[in-house]
Amino acid sequence: MPPDRARAVRLTTGIVLLLALLSAAAFMTVGARGSWSFVLAHRGIRLAALITVAYAIALSTVLFQTLTGNRILTPAVMGFDALFLLLQTLLVAALGGAGAGAIDGRLLFAGECLAMVGLSGLLFRLLFRGEGRNLPLVVLAGLLFGALFRSLSSFLQRVMDPNDFLVLQGRAFASFNVVDPALIGVAALLSLAVTAMLLPRLAELDVLTLGRDGATGLGVDAARLSTLIFALVAVLVSASTALVGPTTFFGLLVANLAYLLVPSARHADVLPVAVGLAVITLTGGQMLLERLLGFGTALSIVIDFVGGITFLLILFRTGRR
């Protein structure tokens, strides 16, 4: 890479990460009242959740877009959140509210993650077996399974005991304001594990941007790499969904902003900036909403809304070219 471009990348990354740090610090300190230990505990947990989610969503979206060769798709449309909801619903329906409530949330989460990875891996493999290169098919199928699972959950919820439903409600409908602290640790660990698997493969991932055939021609086992990445995406999306529920357009917003700011197509360059932007958006956004506008509970809605508008703009921009 020409030196001035490398410098530009370094500069951008530095600025973004600095802003992210400042944003996080501000989140912890602005408007804080009471003893430090209290603030640290209370806000610290929320910050940990936000950072974990930011990381997971930024990473999963960029990876997914490399996989699909498309910058307007996001893994969130693939119905992972619906599968999550269905699994929770099935569990409560099968074991009853008391039975399901007795299981440790973290164990449950890990188990569900596994189930989601397994199922999505199966879907992916099945569809790719016939050398079908039809990515839109995979994504659309995922989306439809999502619709299916959502309807099935809805059906089961109607049929179940109202008391059981209350347990389900407490468990399954997470949001940015209702985060189960026990899950943060598991989610963070999973994100770290994913990163560890990702780091040695970054160069191959870069080659994957040339498409399946292009990558194969250069000696990369595109089929195997794609399946692995898909599984990693599934893990990351599961983690963030379990923590804060579904977020459809946030990843899109952050990923495309990163592509805009970073004059490089390498994942090693884009990913850190994407993560930084995600952290800034979430912590800064939450702070803005809480302190300035009094909409403390609206983060996911606002983010989805803004992300959606950005998505539309991106679509129009792509079309104009």
Binding site: T66, E204, T209, G214, G217, G219, R321
Partner: protein
């Protein structure tokens, strides 16, 4: 050499490649021609290990393409398909640099940078080296992808209908390039072509496919004749000798 041994491929009911056996010796330019649906692209994809054959084997310099690890094969074999669309914003140099991946696994060296520059110069894109692909014309973009293949420096370079969507000026420029590639010692270029005249002009050897089978194999002087036109292409024409080369004209 490339040994294609009884290769077959079916898509549903249709047998697209039917028990094809062929030996392509190293060196020069080989053109694969044939009517629509003859199986040319499929055969090329099988040789380039992009598609798995239902039966038979393909060996490149003794290595079985289906079982040899990708990285080893990529140093000897490169493939360029018809569709070349990349979502990411890459400059010409970025793209061509990918061609070195089989050799450096993502850790570029000084030597790689030099080879990349050479490849870019070979296709005449030095002035555009740092521009983004989407800022180039179709012909330039095509040449950038060819440069990537050049940088890969494989002994056997396969190209699937590389002249599609190119005007005559760019098509000729590209064919001249392929000719120069093929003239380099130890390099073989295999191109699937639509245009018989192009094949006759630039290829050392022409392989004809029809209905998934080999219907001709040899130097243009032997293969391209009236019988080819009428039997394989079902067209009424003449083959003329102009300036030492075969030229085809068809009746109106």
């Amino acid at each position: 050499m490339i040994e294609i041994d009884r290769v077959s491929k079916r898509y549903g009911e249709a047998t697209v490649v039917d028990d094809v056996s062929l030996t392509i010796p190293a060196g020069g330019v080989v053109a694969i021609v044939g009517p629509n649906g003859a199986g040319k692209s499929t055969l090329l994809s099988i040789v380039g290990r992009l598609v798995r054959a239902d039966a038979g084997r393909v060996r490149v310099d003794g290595l079985d393409v289906a079982t040899t690890p990708g990285r080893e094969l990529a140093r000897r074999l490169s493939v360029m398909r018809q569709e070349n669309h990349v979502a990411a914003r890459l400059t010409v140099r970025d793209l061509v640099a990918f061609g070195r991946f089989p050799h450096n696994r993502g850790r570029p060296s000084r030597d790689d940078a030099g080879r990349v520059a050479e490849a870019i110069a070979f296709v005449g894109l030095t002035a555009e080296a740092d521009r983004f692909l989407d800022q180039l014309s179709g012909g330039q973009r095509q040449r950038a992808f060819v440069a990537m293949t050049l940088a890969q420096d494989a002994d056997y370079a396969l190209f699937d209908e590389p002249l599609n969507n190119l005007d005559i000026h760019h098509a000729v420029a590209l064919m001249r390039l392929f000719r120069r590639m093929g003239d380099q010692p130890g390099k073989t270029v295999v191109i699937v072509l639509h245009d018989l005249n192009v094949a006759a002009t630039y290829a050392d050897r022409v392989v004809v496919l029809k209905d998934g089978r080999v219907a001709g194999d040899g130097p243009p002087a032997e293969v391209i004749d009236e019988r080819l036109l009428s039997d394989v292409f079902r067209v009424d024409g003449e083959v003329l000798e102009l300036g030492g080369r075969r030229v085809i004209t068809v009746a109106r």
